[in-house]
């Protein structure tokens, strides 16, 4: 049982919550700033939905979904193009190296200037954040496809689209998934930060609003939801990765 990772999936967060619960109840932690987890969960389940929790969650999910999708898709397409075409690589790479390290939150005001304060600016900033992580990992993945597969494709005159879709993409897939996993976490960070200002719904909005009105439990409820979403996303991506890279398993 102790070796089962699904056991630890629940046990390790649960033990932290238990420690927290005890600390708050025993007065070790100030209950005003650190309400007991049981109280937070109670609030989350029975009070938050009445205060528009689902609206906030679906607003954030909407922004993450479209931003992540657009960012990942364009990151994969450009990453593969750069990996396969030297000219594209030489032209684009300096831009990537220049723009990648800029914190995406730092350009949120600029994006809001261009796209307005509505949904589009939040989707765009999530997309930009995902884009660079997926692009860089995809490029690395394309580079990691062994030379012999290029030779085989050339000798047997594999058609270009088959080469890209059935040789390069599967070969780069493990690295692409690394990018996808980094990007989904980063998307959560960005969407919350973007919702802190200039939003009227969303989990980031919920947290910020709760802070301003000193509704500490509601604030924690928002934080818990973020954590749960992060966990769910990484479980989904891990599942997809295992499904799509079955050929990598070395046992059997």
């Amino acid at each position: 049982m102790l070796k089962n990772r699904y056991f630890w999936l629940f046990m390790s967060p649960l033990s932290i919550l238990l420690l927290w619960e005890i600390s708050t109840r025993s007065g070790l932690l100030d209950a005003r700033f650190f309400p007991a987890p049981s109280a937070i969960f109670y609030y989350l389940i029975f009070t938050s939905p009445g205060e528009g929790l689902w609206t906030d969650i679906s607003a954030s999910l909407y922004r993450i979904f479209w931003g992540y999708l657009a960012g990942c898709a364009s990151g994969i397409v450009l990453g593969v193009s750069m990996g396969l075409n030297h000219t594209v690589r030489v032209m684009i790479y300096p831009l990537v190296a220049l723009l990648y390290p800029i914190p995406k939150i730092a350009i949120l005001p600029l994006i809001m200037l261009i796209f307005g304060i509505g949904e589009m600016s939040k989707i765009v900033v999530v997309a930009i954040g995902s884009f660079f992580l997926v692009l860089i990992n995809t490029l690395h993945g394309v580079d990691s496809v062994a030379k012999i597969y290029h030779d085989v494709a050339q000798v047997y005159r594999i058609k270009k689209h088959n080469f890209v879709l059935r040789v390069i993409l599967p070969g780069a897939l493990p690295a692409i998934f690394t990018g996808l996993k980094l990007a989904i976490g980063y998307s959560l960070v960005i969407v919350v930060a973007a919702e802190f200002s200039g939003a009227d719904a969303g989990i980031g909005y919920l947290i910020w609003q709760s802070w301003e009105t000193f509704s500490i439990k509601a604030m924690y409820a928002g934080i818990f939801v973020i954590g749960a979403l992060g966990l769910a996303f990484s479980l989904i991506l891990n599942f997809l990765e295992r499904r799509l890279t079955l050929w990598r398993d070395t046992d059997q």
């Binding site: 085989v152 005159r157 594999i158």
Partner: protein
């Protein structure tokens, strides 16, 4: 398919350094011939094979492959030292994928061809396995099946059995000869193993090293079909092996000529 070379040379230049891979090669390979290129490592034999495959280009001289023209894809098949199977495709799909890209296979029953060649290399029960689930010898069998299934006019093999153990190698020699005799393809086989060359080839081109040049071309006058255990007892076989050994010994003295000009 026939191959002619005249004064064929290749030089790798990197900055100030010039390394001659092979130099002034003149030879011909006939239709349906099993032609071995034998030489010590570093004599440029792999480079020569890659040039014939179109993966590299010669620096000077002429390489004439007839009746191949650029508009006829699928005319060359190649088996590499490492199997080069796509790890994400099953054995069946590895073979089928190349057929799907071969313009001569349009309107052919690809599944039937795939099955025929999987049977031919005796991997029928492994058709839906992934490459990592097979042994090294089995993977190289798939690689051979894949190259023949395309019905190439010319087959190139670059030390395909070098990473296999002795027994597996012997078994695959037999299998390769069986398929080659049935399919009658021109086959160019690169190796550094003298017995392998004598057992398989109609003719053996012996290369010298640094730079790679044609040292000699030897006819192997041994009857076919060949069977290793019978063949190795023939005096003719032993004579041919000795002859090649003497030719190669001059090349094998360690660090005889380490000239990078």
């Amino acid at each position: 398919m026939q191959i002619f070379t005249t004064h064929l040379s290749k030089v790798f230049s990197r900055k100030e350094q010039r390394t001659v891979a092979y130099e002034n090669l003149n030879f011909q390979i006939g239709q349906g011939e099993f032609f071995c290129i034998l030489g010590p490592s570093g004599c440029g034999k792999t480079s020569l094979l890659r040039t014939i495959a179109g993966l590299e280009t010669a620096t000077s001289g002429e390489l004439n492959i007839q009746p191949l023209n650029a508009s006829k894809p699928g005319s060359i098949g190649m088996v590499f030292q490492e199997h080069g199977l796509f790890p994400w495709m099953t054995i069946r799909n590895n073979i089928r994928f190349l057929l799907e890209n071969n313009v001569h296979m349009v309107n052919r029953d690809l599944d039937a061809i795939v099955n025929e060649f999987i049977d031919l290399v005796r991997l029928t029960t492994f058709a839906d396995y992934f490459p990592h689930q097979l042994s090294g010898g089995m993977r190289q069998r798939v690689s051979i099946a894949r190259s023949f299934a395309n019905e190439p006019d010319l087959l190139l093999m670059d030390e395909p059995f070098v990473f296999l153990d002795y027994q597996t190698r012997c078994a695959l020699h037999g299998l390769l000869l069986e398929i080659w005799q049935r399919k009658k393809k021109t086959l160019v086989f690169v190796t550094h193993d003298i017995e392998e060359a004598v057992f398989l080839a109609d003719r053996v081109l012996v290369m010298s090293a640094h730079p790679g040049t044609v040292k000699s071309i030897i006819d192997i006058n041994l009857p076919r079909p060949r069977e290793f255990l019978t063949l190795r007892k023939l005096p003719a076989y032993q004579d041919q092996v000795s002859e090649l050994m003497e030719l190669l010994r001059e090349e094998c003295e360690p660090f005889k000529s380490n000239q990078s000009v």
